[in-house]
């Protein structure tokens, strides 16, 4: 037995959430060919069905591109500080992809580690994530290579699995149950588990490569193509690095947090002008190292959900997947494969 909802009932439920005062966000075409997560005025704007995934991610609802941290005003020699008591909107994200939702438990670790960032945690508490399992994937998708898949429940409050008509509804948290209570009907049909994209690399092998030759020439080759634009990081569900700057004038202003990216020269430049990561090869290596070595060493899982946005949005088609291919076909990568084969043999 399972619970199900028809497409029409789901859309009408979305309209109920909106008219009930909730902010509802989901994949929506902002223009032809550009699908983004957008706040919806009505369920009709929701793009369900034959699309792979939005070009951005849901991280913006937890870690906005730009946010004020506190304000200050000047009065002579004195400064007055005004804290912000963030009351986030009650938001439902409907139609999130499993690779977007799976990023949330990963981000939770960063923003709760040692010091709790309430700007993040309060938004997290106020948001319910209704995910729809994928039935389509493209060459850039690689969720199955990082231990996830087209119907993983990780990070979702509700998982909707497409049936021939409508969806099987799996409420995974109390937040999710509250949203769908009384709205589903019992059903005999269970959704078939989608297979997802074929596995394209092995994180264990990659881990060995990243712990091995730090000076692998592959980074230099990759970096020759990289324009350093930051599209990969900004559209990534798990990239979370940020900058803190001031927006002030003679009477006062605010301290703000903005998205930042490890591909920029200024990201690590010292005041002296010395830069520990002064070229693009070092910065490319940093991005992959952070995702597949540094974060796993600290938190026990990779900082990547295999959504493929990095490659899809890159002006030169460079991303995690293409980098993994380049790494695996580098001298060190070939050695690793041969070693593994000889051990098996």
């Amino acid at each position: 037995m399972s619970e199900a909802i028809t497409q029409a009932a789901l859309l009408s439920l979305v309209d109920d959430w909106i008219s009930g005062g909730r902010t509802v966000s989901g994949p929506s075409f902002v223009k032809e060919g550009l699908l983004l997560y957008e706040d919806l005025q009505n369920a009709g704007q929701l793009a369900l069905g034959k699309v792979i995934r939005p070009a951005d991610s849901i991280k913006k609802y937890f870690l906005p591109r730009h946010e004020e941290l506190y304000r200050y005003t000047f009065a002579g020699q004195n400064t007055c500080l005004e804290n912000i008591d963030l009351v986030p909107v009650e938001r439902v994200i409907v139609g999130a992809r499993p690779c977007d939702a799976a990023a949330l438990p990963v981000l939770d670790k960063v923003f709760n580690w040692d010091y709790v960032d309430e700007f993040y945690t309060r938004r997290r508490d106020a948001t319910t994530v209704v995910t729809i399992a994928c039935t389509l994937w493209d060459d850039q998708c690689f969720c199955t290579s990082v231990g996830l898949g087209p119907a993983v429940e990780k990070g979702s409050d509700v998982l909707l699995l497409p049936l021939a008509e409508g969806y099987e509804v799996r409420c995974l948290t109390e937040k999710g149950q509250r949203l769908f209570a009384g709205k589903t009907t019992p059903s005999e049909t269970m959704a078939a588990a989608p297979t997802g994209p074929e596995r394209k690399f092995d994180t264990k092998e990659i881990d060995a490569l990243l712990h091995g030759d730090y000076e692998n020439p592959v980074w230099r080759d990759i970096a020759l193509r990289c324009l350093g634009c930051g599209s990969c990081a900004f559209t990534c569900p798990t990239c979370h690095c940020f900058d803190i700057t001031d927006e002030g004038n003679a009477s006062g202003g605010c301290r703000v947090k903005n998205w930042d990216c490890c591909q920029f020269n200024m990201f690590t430049m010292h005041a002296s002008g010395h830069n520990p990561r002064s070229n693009q090869a070092q910065r490319q290596r940093q991005r992959i190292q952070h995702k597949f070595r540094i974060y796993p060493d600290k938190f026990g899982e990779v900082l990547c959900t295999g959504c493929g946005n990095c490659t899809r949005n890159c002006p030169v088609s460079l991303g995690v997947l293409t980098t993994m291919e380049a790494l695996a076909s580098s001298d060190a990568g070939r050695d690793a494969t041969e070693n593994a084969a000889s051990l098996k043999g």
Binding site: L69, Y70, I84, V116, C241, G253, A271, S272
Partner: protein, 277 residues
């Protein structure tokens, strides 16, 4: 809301200009209760705010025994430090911290201490020097080697004279060749050469070396030749930071976050890290 990015307001109680572009600032919490509750360990750093310009990372260069104020020191180089350069007694600035690890002052008890600093790197050593001098009986001989480009570039120069007066404490001052003045009575030469000439006993010693990467690079082989082990050589890294609390993602050297696991590392630890510093 508990806001980890929110600084404490501090009142500037003193500003001192050391060189053409270096100043140190004494600050005190505006709220006396915060002063009473505050403590730190020498070697830790803070995020210092010039409201309207931004926030910068500096070592807390005062001794942790000084309870009524803290000090920091900076060179005028960018937007925040240009703003800090203009502050006067009575102004307000912001402080977050203390963050990071600290010098293992307890582990250093009973050892001879060799402090080696270049240029603006004196402040992160100064806190440890004062701490050691204030607990003089606990430490062996203290040698302070401080080099600057010219005779006019010494930070805390008056304190060098005070330290030279302390018991079992030797101060070696040097300037780069060409940086001396006609009345310069001290060493001329680069720090690694001066250390070799100074014949500092290495037995039972630890060395704290802070300075520009090029100075550290050429000083380490000299310490090695003297016989100091990699576990006994310490430095403080200065990677760029924004949050200071392990979130913003830029200060790492490979797997190590300098703001959390640093900024103090032994040479042995550094040898295991990629050269991202």
């Amino acid at each position: 809301m508990n806001n980890i990015y929110m600084p404490e307001l501090m009142k500037v109680i003193g500003v001192k200009q050391h060189t053409a572009d270096v100043k140190s600032v004494k600050i005190r919490f505006q709220d006396p209760a915060t002063t009473d509750a505050f403590s730190f360990r020498v070697g830790q750093f803070g995020m210092f705010s010039a409201f309207g310009s931004g926030e910068s990372t500096f070592n807390i260069c005062s001794s942790s025994n000084w309870k009524d104020h803290i000090e920091f020191c900076f060179r005028k180089t960018g937007m925040v430090t240009e703003s800090l350069w203009r502050i006067e007694e009575g102004d307000s600035i912001g402080f977050r911290g203390p963050y990071g690890n600290s010098y293992p002052m307890e582990d250093w008890e009973g050892r001879n201490l060799i402090f080696i600093g270049g240029g603006i790197a004196m402040p992160p050593i100064r806190c440890a020097i004062w701490y050691a001098l204030e607990n003089r009986a606990k430490y062996g001989d203290i040698t302070i080697v401080y080099g600057a480009r010219t005779a006019a570039d010494f930070v805390f120069a008056d304190e060098l004279d005070q330290w030279a007066q302390a018991e079992r404490t030797r101060v070696v001052r040097c300037v780069d060749p060409g940086g001396e003045t006609p009345d310069w009575n001290y060493e001329v030469g680069l720090i690694p050469h001066v250390i070799e000439r100074a014949a500092i006993p290495a037995e039972n010693s630890i060395a704290l070396v802070v300075g520009p990467p090029i100075m550290i690079k050429f000083t380490l082989p000299v310490l090695d030749k003297m016989g100091l082990g990699t576990k006994d050589i310490y430095t403080s890294l200065e990677n760029r930071m924004k949050c200071g609390v392990g979130k913003c993602g830029r200060c790492n050297c490979g797997p190590v976050y300098v703001c959390k696991e640093g900024p103090i590392f032994t040479l042995e630890q550094l040898h295991r890290l990629p050269l991202d510093y």
